[in-house]
Symmetry: none
Subunit: 190 residues, 4 copies
């Protein structure tokens, strides 16, 4: 696997994501990926040792990307609510503009491809966010309850919002986003 044409990797990734959204991880085959990527099957194997590696590589790539998206423009020195809102909006934004990617990551999470390492890695990326929540509790702006609960309502809401938006059951205008955030905040605030 020599990396000559970086763009081909991207093309393969995109094809895999697209396909996953269409037929689920259960439905993807290397042949289909290659076809959608306008490549020969063999070419995929120049860039990835095998299907498993392609899937794992893609997951890692996406996870990094999404974590980066999440903390984009966030200054942890800002007041808690400012930080939190920024993260909240980033997360929603990211989940929507990279919906295919989100779907893939979720499916990966319940597929035969996931390994113990990936699972741990994934949860470790939430650490900065958890620390922020601790600070919020210390500053008495949010309810003094288990992070797991705070995370659950927040992440669960954002995730669901992105699906609702994609399935066109709701258009996420600036107003609606504000309202949504307010709901989330009402749930958390002390």
């Amino acid at each position: 696997m020599r990396v000559k044409d970086e763009r081909k990797i991207e093309v393969i990734y995109q094809a895999t994501l697209q396909l996953t959204q269409e037929v689920g991880i259960a439905g993807i085959t290397v042949a289909k990926i290659a076809k959608k990527a306008n490549l020969a099957t063999g070419t995929v194997y120049i860039y990835f040792k095998n299907k498993e590696e392609l899937i794992n590589q893609l997951y890692l790539h996406l996870k990094q990307q999404s974590t980066q998206d999440l903390f984009q423009g966030v200054d942890l020195k800002d007041p808690f609510k400012v930080c939190f809102k920024k993260l909240w909006i980033n997360s929603l934004q990211s989940k929507i503009t990279h919906f295919k990617e989100s779907v893939f990551m979720e499916q990966y999470y319940h597929s035969p491809y996931i390994t113990v390492e990936t699972r741990q890695m994934a949860s470790s990326q939430m650490l900065p966010f958890l620390e922020l929540l601790e600070r919020g509790k210390k500053e008495l702006v949010i309810k003094p309850i288990d992070n797991a609960l705070l995370m659950a309502i927040t992440y669960g809401f954002i995730r669901q919002l992105s699906y609702t938006h994609i399935e066109q059951k709701l258009v996420l205008s600036q107003d609606i986003i504000e309202t949504a955030f307010q709901m989330n905040w009402d749930a958390l605030k002390a």
Copy 2:
């Protein structure tokens, strides 16, 4: 002759669910299902025309079951909050006691097996719940906003709670459940 044992269908369903939780819909094979169900592969084909039908039947079965669970013991003549809380608890309870089932239903939703009909059927089952939300708005107890938002935070939270509980990141004691419901209510209340 051996009488056709309808319990076998249940055994096959359970094996499929178990397997889906372990390796995802992507990882299940008829051979594995049969093995886990302590049956010969051929036997599966006595009860289901093919793998696709097995998966679809199972989804339909689970969806019905879960809708039934949801409205169990709910009296729509009760005050709004009583109804809502009952539904909320039922939903969480059901998602946890039937976690395998929930995972399967989600995976099915993004698999090559889903059809347009199933998709429609699934969303139609939410209707009574949507009507309840309308009533809540009319009675001025919840925020006068789009049902999609109200649903998103509620369903998203419950879903996430069940995962958090299953992954043992949180034990859902009676107290915690009360706290969680309060959070959800804070998000919705007028």
Copy 3:
């Protein structure tokens, strides 16, 4: 395999013949035979050790039957042409009234079921007919040529006539049969 109900054997035979005509020997399965015979699959195995034996048994049965049909009412002391014509008509009659049977026997002949013994047995049943031809040659009524040729035109014609009749491309009225026989006779006569 105890033979209790002789009629069941006949029912199984008929089902097999019918099925062979419909889908060919390649298409028959024990389940299909049983279904057409209005029996359970297992019942077939009470009367026949296995599928192979059923097929072979049936062939033997039919071959005997058809040989009997062929020589029905033939008196070898009659003049050659009388004998020959009687045999000719018998053969055609038999092939038509037992068309399913004929199809089966032909298919059997080119199937994985046939054995060396059956093959020999089949050709040995033609002996009396061959002897008659020899007599015809001795009496100078037919051409003094190889029996194989005489048989080929005669059997080939009769076989083809039966197909033509069954496929409704020709109605074998008494007149037509006379004409046909005359053609055959013209081919053979000295």
Copy 4:
């Protein structure tokens, strides 16, 4: 890359024909075909969508071939008997040199693979021959009887001759062929 070798189709066809002669259409499996063709099973599926299609394609291919053989070197402006004899000899020749093919076509005709379309196609290919017979009747050289009868004795004889020859019950020398044709002619001539 390896270039798609259209000769492989021919190899697969030959293997299928050989196999059909050995065990009948009922006995062929894709694995056996592949083995005889010195290919992996999967390779067969590169050239044919499935077993059924392979069988049907082969039939179509053979039917075309045999029709071509039949009319090879025939000039319909020649006198009737010249034309007819040429066709007769072509047909016999073709049936013998392509005996495997003939056996396959017959078996196909009584197999689960045949479709209404193929059946119609097959009978339509006989049209030119039927027209010739009409001409023969108009020219008063053959008996003024139903084409079906004329066809039956002719085709039936040729078919049977080929079997007799293949089963080594008769060597078709030039002399014998002449004699045989004469028999056929005696049957038809006015």
